[in-house]
Symmetry: D4
Subunit: 235 residues, 8 copies
């Protein structure tokens, strides 16, 4: 950061950093990045319950086919301790590029990865990885610097503990990254339940990956189809 | 506790302390005790959210008229810092005895209170108070010693912090007190949704005092009466 | 966000983003927005105790009549799993507009909702909804972009967990939204206990919706009217 | 509990309540009970993450076919707010009895349920339900009283909050119920990885329902089949 | 623990372990034990806030003069890292015995300490120390074995973390120790606010050591002496 | 906040908002503000342990005489439920102004308070109050707007829960308020342990109000004056 | 557990289960058991910080040579996902038996392990393992049944989450297992700082494995050897 | 902060504060600062587990020799209660400057320290200290003001509680400090596992200081060298 020793003060009108608008995801401008969601690195993640985290990383990967988003997958040293990607994630992306990095910690330092990202032709990047503070943050900061609008799916990144997650997300926010929940990413991509994909595609998707939403729908459907009013229920 | 120096060992069959059955509440045997739920003492309670705690103490008091339980209310030095009972609790019990103790910490040390409890003719006591570790526990231990079956409504007692609540509940459990949730107290009293009181009375009661149960019912009723199936909902 | 490649540096005096003042609520400029506080969606909220949350959402709605704020209510697909608004909220607003959106996730995407908001003629919007990260945040960001001053009643929005709530509130803060507690919203609206509405109206309001404040008042009133000094109390 | 006024003290040797051994599950003696795991009641559960809880209740149900355990399913008022069982659980038990109770809170109060349990011919009962404090505890206490050895799968019961879960589990423990984790239930049923079912069946089962165990296996398999040693890895 | 292989079963009636009554403190039977509350050991305590812990240990020591309890203080290797007792505690006990142990971890292993305890002539021991799991627990278990009734002031013992505190308190409970809060110890000693010591002595004591109780009294006194009713306060 | 529709973009060099330096406290420029630390309002504070909070608010008040800071105290409706200031705080400030506000929620709305603050002649304001979100925040925002450098002593403000505290502190930070710990306030005021006041005055001050620091000093002093090295201590 | 239907009640004096004394560790009677502390299983442990857990399991192993305890190590399927023991643990036990189990979940089901335990000739077993609920608990329950006194080093067992740890420790306690902290295990083994091993051996041991104790000693030694009294330090 | 009263508004394009890039560590530009990691001050740290914190501070110091970073160590009054640096940290830096400050709280106020920092010739400073809110923050703010890029190793600073840590880190972030995890600091310094230092040096380093990463590597190495596939493992 610059530490200016100001010579000639110039009065300017205070303007909001976000006066031109907080970036929001547009499914026609966005690509999906899957960063180091590897089965070994999975064991470093202790800021989120494992069952929920599996839902979140597989759900993150499933956003690609659901919204027809160009997707780049990348791994770091996958024959080493980090391990390969979960098979469910690979199977969701039979036609996407997987960049297997040799040693670059920041995926953006890989020429192959940069090329793959640029080949998507998109200006918005939805990103998640393990660990939040290294794999997600380093890449997100580079993407911001390159001029992309960056959206971190906070629920699909994981790290050693909550303190580290919070510090990493604050660092990204400080650089202009939009840090969103998985549910908010879905909401910004869909926009309207009457769109395609809309309720018909998203409700089953939520049933798979966000069970509290799924069970809300299940209880409602059962009530509509088969429900009866108990005594006292309308009191 | 006795520290026996055993002279003549006698082999006995190991028996479960609870082999003859864990006590359960019977609405025909039970009385309700409301102990020091005073508006000043309320401020000592920090192991539970104030909104939830108000629901729990008023809900505890409302068990009396709901299940037609003889009820004894008691307060400690109510013109002092402890303050009076909340008006909602008093209004629920226009015909119950209120024992205003002069100085006894343990309500059982009050002859007037003992008489009022015995006058109920009941053998099971459902008790809650502020604070858990003093007002509830001291009384509960005395009641056990007197031969009553004692049920502590854990959600309607409160104290300085969770550590103290846990230690107090463990002390009561060690003496044979049954420590139950508010919802379990209701369940043991009702037994069957087809009884009277049953669904017709209990569902509105839960709507008032246990909102997550109440809103479950509201969502169900709305779906039965007015629901439609969205695309994707049955997938 | 723009990623400028600066050609001609211009020295400017560092100015506070908030040099012109942090927005504060003015009851004559503010409108109240009630967003998707529906009885089905209620079950998604796990970052706050249900009893407290009911107090917060009904209390949020009650700000309308209390401060005579023009109010817009909106729901999303209310015959579906989301369900209708709680009856208490509807009954507080017999004359307010309820915009029942067909499918727009962001209420601002609804032409009817935009019209209703603009019809209030107000420049400040007090908003809360379920979920914080989607229904509250999406709308709040749009309102900022439209030039409104936006105040999020943090206690009356709810979502899946605290991590998501924090990320959503940080996202709104990053866009210039003022994220306040329910108590702070009341305080900014009232300004002075001698106003109308003032103590005479607000103390009963707090007794209903913010019990720790209410019980403080109850204990005080009892002491003034009926209190006696115990030995040792003045030592 | 009896409050004896002892007349003639008899010295006895202090004996461990568990001297004859803590009960452990034997797959040839055990039956599986699935109690009120209904899609409406699911929304009352706030002491465990929803993703993990879905894994735990479906995993609990899957113990039946995996270990060939006679299984009884029961529901309470399933056309009402409680809703039906999740379809995954029903589909795992095409030939098991489902007792749809009319109004009994404690499943043991249902004659049909008692008959179904007795028809299993088993002496050990593995039980879980919603809520822990009512549906699981009430039944577990009755089963103990009837002479069964009772094992509560703690991870597959859920309730309003952790305080209530802890109190309920303590109440069951006080009555002699063994309160175990899901993983411990699996371990006691399997006993040896070389049994049938053993590793060949249990590893895929854990991969589905206990992801941290599953991903441990995935990382190991990848390393054995395809791993390479990095520089520094053996230092 | 004995593992009996029973030869001749003898049927006995199930009796409550505590049928003869849970021990309660009697100020005429009790002595106070202050164990290793040393200024070095203080830094090991991380299961409680330091400000609260100072109040609790000095308040524990102050019970001696307040209730005229014979008191034994002991330290372990006080010129070493453990350090001396805080001066406030020493000054409260100008005439009590301080046993400076050379190396015994369990104070009961010190002949001098045993003699001092026996010299009190009391049968009930109120004990607290650092750390809970070693200094308090080891002594408490020995005292039980010697036939004393033992009361652990849970708030005045401290240790490395909450997990260790809970395990230690459970171990003591398993041996028959009564684990109480500081407030409960005071309540059992006082019994009635009209006793001596009673309100006149205890209210100032609580003002010093239990501020939430103290400030309750302060607010009450101010209201009685100088309070006025605000508009709306009685609504 | 302005929502500019930019007509003529002007490239500017990105500058740090804090390029001219983060404000730090200068004891010669600072005044101390004590806002509504009243014995009734004390009971609303649940985001911090009461013992620690008493230390923090009395310690906050003690900064005045310790560093010779001009001090303004203010209360809100002190004959009402809020109650008076604790006597310890009043006694520390025999010569400071106490502004007893009639009804203004934001102290800055009181002309008398504004005059008292301006009469200090200081440009930096160290502020704390109950509640954080209302009394501290409202005043702090006004002070920033008036051109003061504002320092919030975070440990000496308190409110309903941690969520509200965090949101309030974030709101203040967003307006340029420096939110510091009590220990940091002391450190910025003292600057050097060799100053006056320095170690000679500050160590006793910390012993009174920050016990973990005080006991560190006590253990050190004992070791220097009276310590011996145990076997193994230097290994 | 037996559910007796009592025919002939016999009054007996209530006796404490622990009247004959809570078991305590005697270094001449105790053996050390290291159960499945394998580098793969390590990743399942999420109820304790990894850095602390490494200290605890290596410290547990180091108790063997420190106190000259016969030690049995065992692993489960160590070429599989569970992995081998950490090299530090193996190196501490060059002459101890390592039982590499083929498939038995409960180590006691292994004839080789039973023989190794019995070959120690000891009657007390100090045990820890991964996971607490399976490897530690299953073995501990079997050891109790065999008549051993069992001591669980609670800090050196780990599992999926705190809920599971608590349930497992409660299950062991219910069977008579003594659940202790690591520090308490050391204290019971050493008994007196003047013993051998005593301070000379234990202080360096604590410096390695229990840093808060180690740094207490470091600070003391520095003060004794090189400390000076600051102004104000003795005030 | 300036409170401009703007005379002549000048429209400027909203630019990201970080448009020119978030600072990242370059091992050729960075120096390491070790601030007051003293064995006495260690006891003030309660926002992180002691075992983990020792790893973090010694690991922080070890970054110097690992990445050949010029390093400055400093202490405050080390013969007083703060104590000396741990010997492990000193031994890692036989040739680095240690500035033993006499009384300056902010190390930057020490001329000797400023000279030592400037003598490194580096423009990026990696800093950590005890306490976070005083020693780390005060220095970090001064370094920013001097024009350095500042990186706070968040895991190697510690303080009284999490609230204080969060407030301090937010204060630094507000001034432009990059607040990173220890793992992120390592990652930014290394950049690529194929560099020197790279995997060969960093994997053993992580094994020493970040055990969850170390045990991941251990499990992988064991599987590659000695692993076998169990039945069911590939299902």
């Amino acid at each position: 950061m610059l530490a200016l020793r100001l010579l000639t003060p110039v009065l300017v009108l205070a303007v909001s950093v976000f006066a031109s608008g907080t970036p929001r995801i547009d499914k026609n401008k966005a690509a999906l990045l899957i960063v180091d969601h590897q089965v070994g690195l999975f064991h470093l993640v202790k800021d989120i319950n494992p069952s929920e985290y599996v839902n979140n990383i597989v759900g993150h990967a499933a956003l690609g086919p659901l919204f027809n988003l160009p997707t780049v997958l990348t791994t770091s040293a996958e024959t080493g301790p980090n391990g390969p990607l979960p098979k469910e994630i690979v199977e969701l992306h039979p036609n996407s590029t997987i960049v297997r990095r040799g040693g670059e910690v920041n995926a953006w330092d890989s020429e192959e990865f940069r090329a793959a990202v640029r080949a998507t032709g998109r200006t918005q990047m939805i990103v998640a990885g393990i660990t939040t503070d290294v794999c997600t943050t380093f890449l997100a900061l580079s993407l911001v610097e390159e001029g992309f609008e960056v959206f971190a799916n906070a629920d699909a990144s994981g790290t050693f503990n909550k303190f580290t997650a919070d510090n990493a997300n604050d660092r990204m926010r400080g650089a202009g990254v939009q840090v969103l929940s998985f549910f908010a990413v879905v909401g910004e991509l869909m926009r309207d339940w009457r769109n395609t994909p809309g309720a018909a595609e998203i409700l089953p998707f939520l049933d798979s990956f966000l069970p509290s939403a799924g069970y809300l729908t299940r209880a409602h459907a059962a009530a509509v189809l088969n429900g009866t009013i108990l005594p006292g229920e309308l009191a």
